[in-house]
Amino acid sequence: MDATIKEAILQKVRDRLGNDLHLVYEEYAYPLLRINQEVLHDTCRFFKEELHFSYLNDVFATDRFTSEDRFEVIYHLISLREQQRFFLKVYVDEENPVLPTVTDLWNSANWNEREVYDMFGIRFDGHPDLRRIFLPEDFKYFPLRKEFPLLGVPGSIELPSSTPDHD
């Protein structure tokens, strides 16, 4: 981690985003930026095309369990050329949890966004194939939301019939 490169990238992002950049956490080894939801796709494009973050390592979400801005979705970006890791974070509201997809920038976002949809119910606008990835298609709940019970809802997932086919 070269601190000067990191600072240069951070300065570029600050100049670009201005008021859309809400917070910069630097206590952790890698900077974490909380940005406005409206500029998410533009920022991702900026990171990829101008700052050379060609590798989207992970997309994941957390449930903050607050009344406003309940969910947050975190994008883990890596620049192989600069040897830098950056985290982008956006808040998502509970009433209408929709984000623009970044699958048009990084193909690796496809399955990660499906996982976020599967576990939290956050939809991604423009995703080519937004289906559940872990759970059965007809599952009605989002298991990583805080109100979901640990052992699940009894009977929500079917077990195979244990009666033999013959008498």
Binding site: F134, L135, P136, P143, F148, P149, L150, L151, G152, V153, S156, I157, E158, L159, P160, S161, S162, P164, D165
Partner: protein, 160 residues
């Protein structure tokens, strides 16, 4: 003592039942259903150090049509349970089932919505193996328990 004294003219008498049970119990071919880390211990059980061939169980059959005992090794999710049940239904009778390790027996440490809390929810389990993971000796013990079970039951209908 020569064999002639016991075998006479090369014949000996027994019951069909005893012969069938003897044959069955010494050729219990496992159907490996390796789902997680327990599968590695199951491989060790079949390997040279523990030598399952002593019990006639070295032939791991990957076709349900040729196997007698299913060893469910590892945690079973609700999605996987349908596949396991299908394989189990394809196994010809008589068949037996071993739930290997804490996860297959009770769900183990995976106390969550996606994991079946014990495969006996949808399979008729004959032998449970404790431990996380169980040592290969435990699997041998379970195979011996299955053998005892085969030797105790009636393999043919008795005349009433």
């Amino acid at each position: 003592m020569s064999l002639d004294r016991v075998m006479g003219e090369g014949f000996f008498t027994t019951t069909i039942d005893a012969l069938t049970k003897w044959g069955r119990s010494n050729a219990v071919w496992p159907m490996p259903m390796g789902l997680a880390c327990c599968a590695i211990e199951m491989m060790a059980f079949a390997g040279p150090k523990y030598d399952a061939a002593r019990f006639g169980s070295e032939v791991f059959r990957f076709s349900p049509r040729q196997s007698d005992v299913m060893i469910v090794a590892g945690w079973c999710t609700y999605k996987m349970s349908h596949a396991i049940r299908r394989v189990w239904d394809q196994m010809p009778d008589p068949k037996w089932c071993i739930a290997m390790g804490a996860c297959a027996s009770t769900g183990g440490m995976h106390r969550c919505y996606g994991v079946v809390q014990g495969v006996d929810n949808f399979l008729p389990v004959d032998a449970y193996i404790s431990g996380c993971p169980p040592r290969p000796e435990s699997v041998i013990n379970a195979i011996m328990k299955i053998q005892d079970k085969i030797k105790e039951e009636q393999s043919l209908k008795l005349d009433s």
